[in-house]
Symmetry: none
Subunit: 415 residues, 2 copies
């Protein structure tokens, strides 16, 4: 459903919708047992829920398309990820509560290690500590560039966010960015070569309007190289995903919901904020998130609860740990159900099969328990049993409209 | 996936993708046995392959839409057939290696038989020999029209291709096509009434820009009627599918594949050339095609192998022969699998149920064997067993992106 139609059909009522996202949920069979992570895990509570639910698979973007975290979540929030796309820089900035302005350009940065010839030997600089990252960011923040403010904000370990902002005073005087190039542009290619043994790329404009910005980035990188020369393993940096802040309609405008995100990892809170959710921090465990929902139940009518560790285990190729994490979530399902949401959805933002150890394109297990769901013969929550679900494989972007319907929040279309 | 996204996500690697198209593959139950052609045929090799594959049905164009050969194949090549449509004339020209130019207009022709009143009594002129067709085409090629060159190129039996090309010299002098109508147009309706007992239609423009061309075609048809008057059964001609050469991005540009078509029938090679495949001729049997793939394995990473006779049998309403042809292909599956493509797809361009004796709109059996396919419970290759496949019924245009994903040739979408 496009957002215009959603805006037209949505109404408010007293119902509560809860979406539990197990990151990287979907899997593939273990070569020895022939069973997927979900088939291997003991999940009596999810299975019982599946038996009471409409079941199927969500397709995050399109057949064969492996989603990043942004597209996978945006689809579940009801935003077509092919239309509402966000660059990595803006996503990371949102994830640390950095107040990205409309004229800013942000990029994701990595400290890295280069050898004597300038070739990358470690894209993550040996995963320096977050503390060390903070020190280095403080140094780089001192770099002065004409006409712009420079922000270098630490994330975890070797990661940071790099932001350029047009200098207000300079702009007011009219001597900010070079004449004829009125603002910053995100038309700048990654400097990250995405492999070791290669040299970091010089910042290149991907379109004429990016040329001034690319030159400023190049000046920053050269100055940073000088500053970092003796900084041990973190002797260089890589930038990728230059992006502006997206300007999207909010879930409250479009779906008339009061939405909240409950997530431990900042990036998922940042993502949720981009569609207008209030971001509620929570502890790392699923029980922490459930407690946060419980405390805030009265203020919101849509909760997005994010659970990260299924994806982490999958990316680490740790089949057993992914199974354990699934069982950990399963154990919390009774507390979640005790919150009595009118519509409860359990799914993932994408698949991360432990045998592949990366995000994949496979459709993602989905269940929805709600009034008026039509009977189906799926009675377990795994990739094989869900084939018997009544929902089949459907676009993830349709999950929210479907939940809205079951919550009595969508009116009739047409006379 | 639209081609722009495909262009953005596609990468190269060493993998091989093989698509086997059994033309007109899908069928319907025989009224006596209740079993379809595929259910009737003994296909142990395809069944074993299905058991190892992700299975389902492709939808070539849309629910209820019966595809011609062009749309059915273009979808499988990853080109949305509702967007990338080709007229019959251009398709037939491509199929005989005719070097159709951007300013040309081509149509498919049939020699036919008309009675004394000018009514069509046989749309195929008793299927005259290809030799006789060649003689008649040579005579018609002598027809002179002001400002254009005329080409009449024989196909098999009663079929030919008719092409008008703006006369270069005339254009240079400025006295070519009538003033104000700078070029030829394909906005000309078929003259083929598609039934016996009717008169061939006079060439009519379907839009104002087609008027000059329609007049030229009318002059050609009148002259041809005079020339053919005493040519026995082939005493008239019918034209259909006026079309220009399409100008589409190639599979190598979009999908970064080195693609080859292996087909006995020229039309399928022509179709494949329109999307930039190199066309490799092969003998009529499936084993001939497999030998051609084997010889050329090193030069390409995508092979489209076309097998015609399942469709021919279906169109002839010959249920038993279609069953035999399916068994013939099944017997060759081990040699095909021995080529060890990383991704092997077996499907059809459309259904041609022998009980209907024409192309139909029914979704088409599909299997894909590849690394990372998710387990499904389909263990035989027929219309009933495939209902248990994990892919369900999906757009045929998504088959290539799905294969690309399984071949590791699509990168992640979004941050």
């Amino acid at each position: 459903m496009d957002l215009e139609l959603a805006r037209q059909l949505s109404v408010t009522n007293q119902s509560k919708i809860l979406l539990l996202v197990m990151d990287g949920l979907g899997g593939l069979p273990h070569p020895e047992t022939g069973r997927t992570e979900l088939e291997t895990a003991q999940t009596p509570n999810l299975d019982a829920l599946a038996a009471q639910s409409a079941c199927g698979f969500t397709l995050p973007v399109a057949l064969g398309v492996t989603p990043g975290s942004g597209p996978g979540h945006l689809a579940l929030f009801g935003y077509d990820p092919l239309k509402y796309n966000i660059g990595r820089g803006a996503l990371e900035a949102a994830g640390i509560d950095f107040d990205l302005q409309p004229q800013d350009v942000a990029a994701r940065g990595n400290f890295c290690t280069v050898d004597g010839k300038g070739l990358v030997t470690d894209r993550r600089a040996g995963r320096i500590t977050s503390e060390r990252c903070g020190e280095l960011c403080a140094e780089l923040r001192q770099i002065a560039l004409e006409g712009v403010e420079v922000f270098v904000e630490p994330l975890r370990e070797h990661r940071f966010v790099f932001v350029l902002r047009p200098d207000g005073r300079a702009s007011a005087r009219g001597d900010g960015l070079p004449a004829g190039r009125r603002g910053l542009s995100d038309a700048v290619a990654d400097t990250d070569p995405q492999q070791v043994g290669a040299e970091p790329a010089g910042p290149q404009a991907t379109a004429p309007e990016g040329e001034a910005t690319a030159r400023l980035v190049a000046l920053f990188v050269e100055e940073a190289r000088r500053i970092l020369a003796d900084a041990g393993p973190a002797n260089m940096l890589l930038l990728r995903g230059f992006a502006r802040r997206p300007d999207w309609p909010s879930m409250s405008e479009v779906f008339k919901l009061r939405p909240a995100a409950v997530a431990h990892y900042p990036m998922y809170r940042g993502l949720a904020r981009l569609v207008g959710m209030e971001a509620l921090p929570a502890g790392p465990g699923i029980e922490d998130s459930i407690a946060t929902v419980k405390e805030n139940r009265g203020r919101f009518d849509y909760f997005f609860v994010h659970y990260k560790y299924t994806d982490t285990a999958g990316e680490d190729a740790d089949f057993e740990r992914k199974v354990e994490k699934l069982e950990e979530v399963d154990a919390a399902i009774p507390s979640l159900a005790a919150l009595k949401p009118d519509v409860l959805m359990v799914t993932g933002d994408h698949s991360t099969p432990a045998v592949q150890a990366v995000h994949s394109w496979h459709p993602v297990p989905f269940l929805m328990r709600a009034p008026w769901t039509r009977a189906d013969s799926c009675d377990a929550f795994n990739e094989v049993a869900l084939e018997k679900g009544s929902l089949g494989t459907f676009p993830a972007v349709e999950a929210l409209p479907l939940a809205m319907a079951h919550a009595g929040r969508l009116t009739k279309y047409g006379a």
